[in-house]
């Protein structure tokens, strides 16, 4: 029954890419992908938050199950995430004030990024153990980061193009995301071999 770590990794990173195939973290994906410099920084911050909060939630879930308090799961997970975001915020402010200013309001908003909440929920529903959860968190957040960077690179190029005025903004971004997602569908076949 135990899934191999490679399978979990490939599945979360490519086959079921969090952004392009499962539609998680769309708000920041559409809102923060205009520039490469912001996109990769945001990607890395989210990666950090996802990995830390996934590991913490795994431990907490063991406690919740032990005390038969599963109904508190959603609330507890969101509190863990909010705390991790706060931690990241303090860390970045201390280490790099310039980056802190650049990310600005988006940093606290990582709390309401559904990709972050989805990792603990998925690992709970799939009964992953601690190692599997960690690999899953790394792969899922890596996939998020990769999708964000890819879209930002494409968007930087389309900024130079001559685009109909009406299509500018969200509609164009969605069309680009659709094409990227079409490309990621090609990975779907890899799932059968693992």
């Amino acid at each position: 029954m135990r899934e191999s770590l490679t399978h979990i990794f490939v599945d979360a990173f490519l086959i079921n890419n969090f952004v392009l195939c499962v539609f998680l973290g769309m708000c920041s994906f559409l809102g923060l992908s205009a520039k490469f410099s912001t996109a990769w920084r945001m990607g890395v911050s989210v990666m950090f938050v996802i990995i830390v909060s996934a590991v913490l939630s795994w431990e907490t879930n063991v406690l919740l199950v032990r005390f038969h308090a599963e109904y508190l799961r959603i609330i507890v997970y969101i509190v863990i995430i909010a705390a991790t975001v706060q931690l990241t915020e303090m860390f970045i402010r201390k280490k790099s004030p310039a980056l802190f200013r650049e990310l600005g309001v988006y940093l606290p908003l990582i709390t309401t990024n559904c990709a972050v909440l989805a990792v603990p929920l998925f690992q709970t529903s799939r009964n992953y153990d601690l190692l599997q959860s960690t690999v899953f968190a790394i792969a899922a957040s890596g996939g998020y980061c990769a999708a964000l960077i890819l879209l930002s690179l494409v968007r930087e190029r389309t900024d130079l193009g001559d685009i109909p005025r009406l299509a500018k903004g969200t509609a164009l971004t969605l069309v680009l995301a659709s094409i990227l997602s079409l490309a990621f569908m090609g990975f779907a076949g890899m799932g059968n071999g693992g």
Binding site: L32, Y71, I75, I78, Y106, T111, C114, S181
Partner: protein, 230 residues
């Protein structure tokens, strides 16, 4: 978040004067105008039934959380308000999670992890921050209801396009004859992105025409946009 994402920042100015219910349903439609709450909008709309169920679940959460937040708005210190809002929202979502499970296990399975993920839906926190945290209880509840139904409406629009094209059915009833070859792509993730893009373009085009009708500028200029999308 709405400022960063909205492509029509000028629209938000009219928010104060209007009836909160109509405002959410149409003028400030969370999906088509504010472009918020994209995750469920794209993920759950592969059939009309699921889309509508998701819309109703979100409406319920918005209604409850807006009401509760507005009721406690004077007791909550400014510094911890976001944390408080999230706790209130998470509570409402837990209620909905168990409610959906009790009403229909089929719908619960189809919506899967997206019900707990309503917590992270930006519309709800945005409404709490922008409306419920400042206004009395009754208007806040109306606002929650309007926004929620606007969200449900948008989801149903998307779900219709995707189910009709992708499976050839509406609410499970076949629409076309046997010779219809379903356009499966529309049920898959790329179809979600492209149908939302088409809806957004249609709405932008419609609004633009309405604004320009008096000036009688030829709308032919905007046609290439539709070609790109389709």
């Amino acid at each position: 978040m709405s400022e960063a994402l909205s492509c029509h920042p000028s629209e938000s100015k009219s928010e104060v004067m209007d009836n909160p219910f109509v405002n959410g349903l149409w003028k400030q439609n969370p999906v088509f105008v504010q472009v918020l709450g994209m995750c469920p909008t794209l993920a759950i709309t592969n059939s009309v039934r699921n889309a509508f169920a998701m819309g109703l679940a979100t409406t319920f959460v918005l209604f409850c959380s807006n009401g509760m937040i507005s009721a406690i708005r004077k007791l909550v210190p400014k510094q911890v308000r976001i944390a408080t809002y999230i706790a209130v929202i998470a509570t409402s979502v837990t209620v909905v999670d168990y409610l959906v499970k009790a009403i229909s296990i089929d719908v619960y399975k189809a919506l899967g992890a997206y019900i707990p993920l309503i917590v992270a839906n930006c519309i709800i926190l945005e409404r709490a921050e922008a409306f419920a945290g400042k206004k009395p209880v009754i208007p806040s509840m109306l606002d929650g209801l309007g926004m929620g139904l606007g969200f449900a409406f948008a989801l149903t629009c998307l779900g219709t396009i995707r189910e009709v094209l992708g499976a050839g059915t509406f609410l499970g009833f076949p629409l076309f004859g046997k010779n219809f070859e379903p356009w499966v792509l529309f049920l898959l993730p790329p179809g979600g992105f492209i149908s939302l893009a088409i809806w957004l373009l249609t709405f932008t085009l419609w609004r633009e025409r309405k604004a320009k009708r008096a000036a009688a500028v030829q709308p032919a200029k905007s046609l290439p946009a539709m070609e790109v999308a389709s």
